[in-house]
């Protein structure tokens, strides 16, 4: 790591005002990764400045590649050697950039610590959890006796809510679930009562119910230690109720900064506005189409001279492309004339900007946006998505697309090498009932491991299920001949989760989209015409067809995947988490596309997702799954407005809403523990072990939950139904 520090003798001006030094002060931080083998250099961070005071929470928001993680890793001294870092990072006023590894190591984990994104790979697999925790203590104080370090580790485990810490001390990381490992990571960060904790997407890899637990824990950790927290995330919901101030990053630079309310209720930067408009909202009844931001983030190796967002910005002017706007208070941006004048002078370098705590925006039209009070809907062209008119509005009148009855998928657990014997069963899918009508979207939601994907694979297999039946368009799949099955596949296609790995990298886009057509013996001249039709339909350029998937961004690849799925004109599209791997601004475009396609072609969707906000936006009906069973099913409006199953209630309550005011006022139901193993589900009601309602019931009622498995019974009228003995029902429904 080569580091060039700004020689700063000046005490930061903001420090004098507030009368105390910020705990962490980053000034004009720049990070460049040297390119190897004639690859160009990548400038990941280009001038980031912020300050965090004791007890303050700063959120850094940005999409992937915006430089938000790299900037904090640079502050921690964790970047690889080929990174060139310039600027200044001060910890309690002391410059820490450029310190050698040994000196820096003494600060890491003691004064400044970090929680990372992926808890599954964050712990060394070969040491016990307790030893790794104790190591955090002993590294900073070599004189601590082993027994004392061990005591402290157990104390920490208890503090972060690991049950039975004495015993769990000796566990290895692989014996812990993801949520528990993240708790250990947080315990490690708290071990020496640091002054700053940097959290790098601490909940992104976790399920919503676990996310709620971890956020709760981080709040507690902050109360406990009084530390300043830097919360890095792409999820605008997570930060809304958690942080005091927000820094929005785009292409390695901060583009807007201010208090959380200023950003959420009065953003003055088109990018932030677009980002907020692109988030599907779980709390809004009729949101309308999402705000899509066209295009993709720029490549960091070859940035345009002007504002990096200008190519995607709907209100960009020629001046935007002349010079990169500086982060200035609203209304202080230079006029268009000044920009034209200065851009003609050669070698104009952006000035170094310090965080003064004031709200600032890097957009030359911010003053205009402010005075006109524009919102995202005003500046972004929002597509108008029509409703498909072809079907009867009465659900019962429409034809069946898919009907699943009592579907099960059990995997045997085998043991032994030569003589295998069955030692148990994984109840992956355990009795599902649902149907999808023409032109309808049914969403299957639930935490990971609840059996969503197994259900999809069972349905897509078109084989005779282990028990129950699957009917596609009124035909029972168990009675199909091989030829019938092949023909039926035309009507039912799938879009996969990961657009990066689900397209063959050695086939051109044309070949990928043409393959299903060729397989089903469509004549060659029809194929070419159809491929161009499809490319146009999903919003790609016709010139793209000769390229390979690697040349496309995630959103474009997902469009290719959708075009491939639509090639055979299916009537039912199975979507397996189609947007979960995409950035928010890209995700909005794909969701809009799916809605447009449904309106245009009258498709039915089976939509699998874990993101309940996306589901509320797109689905007509929702089925909530828990441990291989549906616990609640019904139309989207009823489920979101009047959830009657305790699990649905908890799930909905766990999702953070991108609205600071609402978020601060909400009480989250935080479920205990993790999903039980599907090999050994609890007796009676499967949810009772984590149920918030179970604890409030009388012993007699609890017995009913423990012994009798609840069946789905209608609640709240309509077609909403919940599998709970004590579901919240409206009067007169029982």
């Amino acid at each position: 790591m080569s580091i060039d520090t700004i020689e700063g003798t000046h005490p930061a001006p903001g420090a004098e005002e507030t009368g105390k030094t910020p705990v962490l002060e980053v000034t004009d931080l720049r990070v460049t990764f040297r390119g190897f083998n004639s690859n160009p250099d990548v400038t990941a961070v280009r001038g980031v400045s912020y300050r965090v005071h004791r007890g303050e929470v700063l959120g850094i928001v940005g999409e992937s590649g915006s430089g938000k993680s790299v900037s904090s890793m640079a502050a921690m001294g964790l970047l690889p050697e080929h990174a060139t870092i310039t600027g200044s990072v001060r910890l309690h006023g002391e410059e820490i950039l450029g310190l050698d590894d040994r000196t820096m190591a003494r600060k890491r984990g003691k004064v400044i610590s970090m929680v990372f994104q992926d808890p599954l790979s964050g712990l060394t697999p070969v040491y016990t959890v307790g030893d790794q925790l104790a190591e955090a203590v002993t590294t900073h104080d070599k004189k601590v006796p082993k027994a004392r370090a061990r005591e402290r580790a157990i104390e920490l485990l208890e503090l972060v809510g690991i049950p039975n810490p004495e015993h769990r001390y000796r566990s290895f990381p692989h014996e812990f679930s993801g949520g528990m490992r993240q708790r250990v990571m947080i315990a490690m960060a708290m071990a020496n009562n640091p002054d700053v904790i940097i959290c790098d997407e601490p909940t992104t890899a976790l399920d919503v119910t676990i996310q709620a637990q971890i956020l709760e824990l981080l709040r507690a950790a902050q109360r406990e230690t009084g530390a300043a927290i830097v919360m890095i995330t792409h999820d605008l919901g997570v930060v809304a109720g958690f942080v005091d101030r927000i820094l929005v990053m785009y292409a390695g630079r901060p583009v807007e900064m201010g208090s959380v309310d200023e950003i959420y209720y009065g953003s003055r930067m088109p990018y932030t506005m677009g980002l907020l408009g692109a988030v599907p909202r779980m709390d809004l009844e009729r949101q309308g189409a999402l705000v899509p931001i066209k295009g993709n983030p720029p490549s960091l190796t070859d940035l345009p001279p002007g504002c990096p967002f200008a190519p995607r910005c709907p209100i960009a002017r020629p001046e935007c492309e002349m010079a990169e706007p500086e982060l200035l208070p609203v209304g202080e941006q230079p006029s268009a004339e000044t920009i034209r004048a200065t851009s003609e002078e050669a070698g104009h370098a952006p000035a170094q900007v310090q965080d003064t705590g004031e709200r600032r925006v890097a957009c030359i039209r911010s003053g205009e946006i402010d005075s006109n009070a524009w919102t995202a809907q005003d500046i972004y062209p929002v597509p108008d998505i029509a409703e498909f008119e072809g079907y009867s509005s009465d659900r019962e009148q429409r034809g069946d697309m898919l009907r699943v009855r009592d579907l099960i998928k059990h995997h045997p657990l085998m043991k032994g090498a030569v003589l295998k014997r069955r030692v148990g069963t994984v109840y992956a899918v355990d009795g599902l009932d649902f149907d999808i009508r023409e032109g309808e979207t049914l969403a299957l939601v639930g935490e990971s491991g609840c059996g969503k994907s197994s259900t999809l694979m069972e349905i897509m297999g078109l084989d005779k299920p282990q028990r129950g039946s699957v009917e596609v368009m009124g035909r029972d799949v168990s009675t199909l001949s091989k030829a019938d099955r092949f023909a039926l596949r035309k009507d039912m296609q799938i879009v996969f989760q990961d657009p990066m790995s689900s397209l063959d990298p050695r086939m051109t886009v044309f070949d990928i989209i043409a393959e299903p057509l060729a397989t089903h013996k469509v004549p060659q001249d029809r194929i070419t015409k159809r491929v161009y039709e499809l490319v146009d339909l999903v919003g790609l350029d016709t010139e793209h067809v000769t390229r390979f998937p690697a040349e496309f961004s995630g959103g474009q690849r997902q469009r290719i995947g959708i075009a491939r799925a639509l090639a055979l004109e299916p009537q039912l599209l199975v979507l397996d988490e189609p947007v979960s791997a995409l950035d928010v601004s890209i995700q909005a475009g794909v969701i809009n596309l799916l809605e447009e396609l449904q309106a245009e072609l009258g498709l039915a969707y089976l939509f699998v997702a874990h993101d309940l906000s996306v589901v509320r936006h797109i689905a007509d009906r929702v089925a909530v799954m828990y441990l291989g069973r549906i616990v609640e099913i019904g139309d989207t409006e009823s489920i979101y407005n009047r959830p009657s199953h305790p699990y649905t209630q908890a799930l909905l309550s766990a999702i953070p809403v991108p609205d600071p005011e609402k978020e601060r006022g909400r009480a989250h139901i935080v479920l205990d523990g993790d999903l039980p193993s599907p090999a050994n589900p609890p007796s009676g009601c499967r949810f009772r072990t984590r149920c918030q309602k179970f604890a409030t019931l009388s012993a007699q009622d609890q017995e009913q939950c423990t012994n009798i498995e609840p069946q789905i019974l209608p609640t709240n009228g309509g077609d909403q139904g919940a599998a709970c003995h004590f579901a919240d029902r409206q009067e007169g429904d029982r």
Partner: protein, 326 residues
Amino acid sequence: MGKFLARRLLNYVVLIFLATSFAYVLAATNLSPRDYFEQMQPPPEPALVDAQLDKLNLNDQTPLAQRYVTWMSGVFTGDFGQTIQGGSVSDQMMMKAGVTLRLIVVATLLGSVMGIAIGAYAAIRQYRAFDKAATGASFFVLSIPTVVIAIVIQVAAVAVNDMLGIQFFRYSGEYTAGFEGDWWEMLVNRVYHAILPTLVLALALFATFARYQRNMMLDVLGSDFVRTAMAKGLTRRKALFKHALRTAMIPTITYFTFTFGMLVSGATFTEKIYAWQGMGAWLIDSIARQDVHVVTAVSCFMAVTIMVASLLSDILYAWLDPRVRV
């Protein structure tokens, strides 16, 4: 864990038995002890030859199954039969096995430790001078068969000795014939003789291990847990040594078993070239002498050493990786 090892051990015993049986059948059907006697000058009486063959349990007129059973029942009591010259195979095997084991064990330790250390360090210095040198050296060694390395080193040793004018390197035999002295003088003398052949074997092993360890280390270098270790206050060096290296050694240990077979065959040539009276040299000599029992006994010995190596790597694996300890 104990149960797992016991099961493994049982598997290995069965495998050794099978390997030895196959070796016996192969040797007994392909070698011809009768020719050995008939070619003697002056040619002995046919009846005498038969009598001798019967005595040694090598007569091709006796059914193979019968010879096999006779021999195998001896093996179970620790008797590997007689050499074609009439000596006890077991007695000689003890002596020669010691020689080979000494060579193999020292070379293995030296080669693997050197390989792991150099490979791991090369990974840390990826694309730097050290990495390039280490990569170049290991590919160079890997592309040459052990036989050639052995001879080249021997030739080089002769050249160096000639230049120095003294017998600095010893390249023949285990110790100087007729050397008399205190026990420590004997020891120094033996070590002197052992340097070159051990080096030859260690070199080949070093090359494979260095390559393998470098790749494994590269895999874990960028991993999240190394970053976590640094984030909690370990220096880079300490994080790499304590967290990365230990994890990166797990796959290398499994690989150890596979390389061991190669090492044993490499030892065969090296012993022959450096005139060591070990198992390898004995095997080559006894093939020329049509000596069925020795060939089989050596095969059995090799099977045992490879299985012991496997068992060792099983134990090491379980020690390094808690996930396999059930």
